[in-house]
Symmetry: D2
Subunit: 378 residues, 4 copies
């Protein structure tokens, strides 16, 4: 249809051939809308035709399934990029003016949940869909630790700022401190200092910072500094996964309503999350007597609020092998100088959230809905 589209739309696949230079991608004008829609329709029809006629081979079906999940990542990234672009505009335009804004609510005190210990299994089982980097399922050794019952919220992060958190080098990783100095960070991205009060820019536009909402749009460096300041640390991805994964966890998730209803929130669904959280906390309070019960008592806000930075560098699981060709370029080649985030954010498509999912970003990235949960050694 349009042979040159393969270079224009090739983001990073060396095996597909030439790519448009990344740094100049913002300069790329787009084909006009009818041409794009015509192309999209042609692709959709060819895929649907293949699916309906049963003419796809098994490995082709695998690619279609992968493509659909990949498309979900784009849906999330488009909202992430839209927010970032709009934030560059000093007029602070709202993406949609009809988005419900979050209401301040009461946040339960932070409790420490005992984490799973000893030899445990993590990683995707291979049943249902998972990206290649989520497997193979394998054993890990967990040391004694505890996990925070909920996410760190804006009020707590403001306390960190007010306690000179951005001015005390001893709290920071060296690379993070240098970056902060160079970029002039004094608060999370999208916090805007107004007349005596912090404001917060979201897809709903500019509004007051809601203290009860999870802190978001912070880098790994800020998450790590906050954890040091709290005399705690970030969880390992294995610790997080064991906490999040219970027999009923993901089913519950799908019905618990902890997402922001619009799916495009500024609008972190904190209220809903804590409805859920309260009952969970209640469970953990009454069930401290047996180990089994303790492990069942899952912390709240694990899925669909903000991506949670873990302290785990993004590396291959034991036995991982990248596939051949373009599909092999999907995850494996990014396994350097990035950190794993877990859980999914309020703009992550619902079917894209699972306890084994490994999101990854460089330590400096802040434009994601990224926050943190504390952990500590015991």
């Amino acid at each position: 249809m349009a042979p040159s589209f393969s270079a224009v739309f090739n983001s990073y696949y060396n095996s597909v051939g030439e790519q448009y230079p990344r740094a100049q991608r913002g300069l790329l004008t787009r084909p006009d809308l009818p041409t794009v829609l015509e192309y999209r329709t042609a692709v959709d029809e060819a895929i649907l035709q293949g699916l309906e006629s049963g003419s796809f081979a098994l490995d082709q079906l695998d690619i279609v399934e992968l493509g659909i999940h990949h498309e979900q990542q784009h849906q999330e990234l488009i909202l992430t990029d839209v927010l970032h672009l709009l934030s560059q505009n000093p007029l602070y335009p709202a993406y949609r003016s009809d988005l419900p804004r979050a209401e301040p609510c009461e946040v339960p005190a932070l409790h420490w949940h005992p984490g799973a210990e000893g030899i445990q299994s993590v990683g995707h089982s291979g049943l249902n869909f998972g990206f290649d980097n989520e497997g193979p399922r394998h054993k890990i050794l967990l040391h004694p630790h505890e996990i925070g019952s909920r996410l760190v919220n804006n009020q707590e992060f403001r306390d960190f700022i007010d306690d000179d958190g951005y001015k005390r080098p001893e709290l920071w990783l060296a690379e993070g401190w240098a970056l902060k100095e160079e970029q002039g960070w004094e608060a999370p991205l999208y916090w805007i200092e107004g007349e005596g009060a912090w404001q917060h820019f979201s897809l709903a536009g500019l509004g007051a910072l809601i203290p009860s909402e999870p802190v978001s749009h912070i880098s790994y460096f800020e998450a790590d500094a906050y954890a040091k300041w709290s005399d705690a640390r970030l969880p390992l991805e294995g610790e997080w996964e064991l906490t999040a994964h219970t027999p009923q966890a993901e089913d519950n998730l799908l019905e618990s309503g902890i997402y922001c209803p619009t799916g495009v929130a500024s609008a972190f669904s904190s209220a809903a999350a804590f409805t859920n959280a309260t009952s969970t906390t209640a469970a953990s309070t009454t069930a401290t007597s047996t180990t089994a019960a303790r492990i069942t008592a899952r912390p709240s806000q694990l899925f669909g609020d903000v991506w949670e930075w873990t302290s785990s560098a993004y590396q291959a699981y034991p036995g991982y092998r990248a596939g051949p060709g373009a599909l092999g370029e999907y995850n494996g080649k990014f396994m350097a100088n990035q950190y794993v985030l877990r859980g999914g954010s309020c703009v992550t498509p619902r079917q894209h959230i699972r306890s084994t999912y490994r999101n990854f970003f460089p330590a400096h990235a802040r434009w994601q809905w990224s926050g943190l949960r504390l952990a500590r050694d015991v």
Copy 2:
């Protein structure tokens, strides 16, 4: 109406206040179309109301007149930027597919016209409108020289390339050579090497390079290197102005049809230009006996084809003083490290062309419709 517009739309006026950082301007999302149109309509109405009611003071009328001429510069720059943006797209989309493409034509041989000598006057007289940098009118001393009868064309520039013009450092200014090496220049901007033949990208899209068209989209450095290769030099801006300015010159201009008819050309109006050129050349051939006649015999293609690089650094004329306030920031503060271009291009609004007009760009600029005419000492 929209107070924050003054920062968003402040390109470089320090006296107006805060400016949006230039390097990030490409990231700035725009207010939506209705808001922009509403704002524009409100401005238009206020201006028209003021003009019709006669309520503007004299100095306010001066500002309105300046604003209208400034707007004409934007009209040209928008086309320049559109071409540049589209050129980043490997699909090479046309700005308008209905633009007439130039046809190859016969180019008369280059003749050398004797230039004016001795003490001469240049600069804007102050009658009618002129930008402040065009005056004051003053005397200059011109040394004996000759000016080329027409612009350098694509065929001639291809000869320069084929003679290793981009590979011989002795032809280049040191800064230009370093820049060329760093940027990998091997031809003018928008020349694209195809299978055995040069193609040319213009507002009409990609097409064959037309040998008879004036070479365009070259930097000062390339113009200077071409001139050295030709055993000649670029004209001084005073030499150019004396050549271009005759009693009937600008009136003729307005009727000569040497513009590209659409005003948005790829489409340099070479044919029309040479209709004019031929008669002029004839005149110069038959009239070499008297000085008066020689000076009258004006070279062709002086207006409305391409901006012509001169060797003159863009500096203040004797007695020039920048005005106060924002208007004073208009021209004077750019008088460093830029070079003067004369004549106007095929996308310059017709009323914006005059023999005293001083356009200016840094030596490295190539995204303008910029070409050259030779001069030489005698």
Copy 3:
């Protein structure tokens, strides 16, 4: 003595105060030699006086011990930097012309040694000196794997190059590929292409590349690409440590003569290393019948040839806490975006080598004597 020395010589300690900007450090002129020697003598005398008089408190003695080990790191880095500086000089001067050059030798075939499995202990015991990042000693879980019997050598790395190793993106991490393209890497640092043959620049000057020497001066990205090309992987730091650490390992090390005699080699002591290697290999050949014997049979070239890249991101061990003040800035704050190297190189001071030692550098670093050993899953 010289109060402003504290800023001039403060490389990165925020708790000590102001620092000279890192990027401009190469522009810093030095105090003259007598001033430096006077300062050094004064420091030495004060320390010796304190030690001899017994006037240091216990925590002061800890600092002195740490300082001495820190000084050893400087000794190694000075040679690393000298080599790098000399390599910028197209005259390729030798650091010392009296250095013995390595002789080509026979390299034993690569064998695969079974690695330790299951729950194992790693990290510094706290007896004798160790840096804080080497502890606490703790348990890890190792999956079944094998470790290469020796380092990858120049001949093998040349095979990788000849098989288009630097031209096949599927072998590379994405960040490494982009860096390689940008920097134009086509071979390890200090390999210089001569007339039909590779030359190698070392502290002894320019000489023929010795095929039997361990490959050196490669980045993590090149090490990882080589491993992928070999259908293998880099070892985890825990796998390496268990391989290197046996009851007699470090004692043997001190007597085995596997260092380059001069301590400043180009001159990797390959011959000596393989004397050692041969006996070890013999042992492993004859002792495959029992697990105990297999684990005892240690691969060769573990210490004092080149630092070996592991696939482990440099992170805190479980339970690690950085100390207070300047000492706490020593190791912990660099725990982001770096990788662990193990073993020590031919310019590492002998007393500075131990099986628990964790060296660390960013993935792009090549100016170290850094090479690799393969590992693989079984």
Copy 4:
């Protein structure tokens, strides 16, 4: 002798061949001292031998003469670079501690000298030595103007600073303002803010700023802003040359003692200069009745204090042609984006100073001994 020296020591001659990359030149280690001296001695002996034996051809003698003058430029640049390097060191070491420091002195009030008008001749006559860019001698047209009787001094420049000279964009060229903001300029280079008073770093080390000394180490942008603030302008190079060139000017110069005696001064020889200045001023006071006398009355401090920025872009004189080969690369290829400075500084070799000499630097350059003299239209 050392064939690779030709690349190492080739600063910018494309016709000589390969060059060491400029940006990395600071990383280049040097051949050891005996090798350098041996090379230098061999060159000296070959030249002397040729001169004494009369074996050089005439064009070879021209090259030797040019080489000697070129060497003088190096002598000046070495001191310029030494000062710059030492200034990077927070210990502020003196180049030589035995340099006499300038003493504050009384500065005569600024007078305005009428400049030459009408058609005048400038440029080197071709008698004695001159660089190619100083010729050909040619006519220029000068408009009515006046020239300041002496250089702008530190006290006056401090007044400019105190009047917010570095904070008022309307005084600055746009490129200069952006540069100043980016680099954080708040005073001339080497002015260091101490406890309530400005200090000045020179080859003699750190000392109090002497108000009576000519301001130095300023960029073209700062000179131009100061001139605008003074309701004046910089002189054109032709205006300067006509002022400086009188029949007896250069002879007087050689005997007037207006140089700093050591030739390496911090130590601008202001006192001596004003001894001279006083008599000149006296002359101008008593001789205002005739034009001839007025032109003879030369301003002071024209030679050997600081290089004086002119407003003239560095361009070719009418009829200038660069020579062939390496000699042709000497001056001509730098004729873009630089400005002419006149007069010579206190570290310029005495025989290197003449009224036609055209020094040139980019507008941002501050590491030279560069200052300014005012001019104004009348």
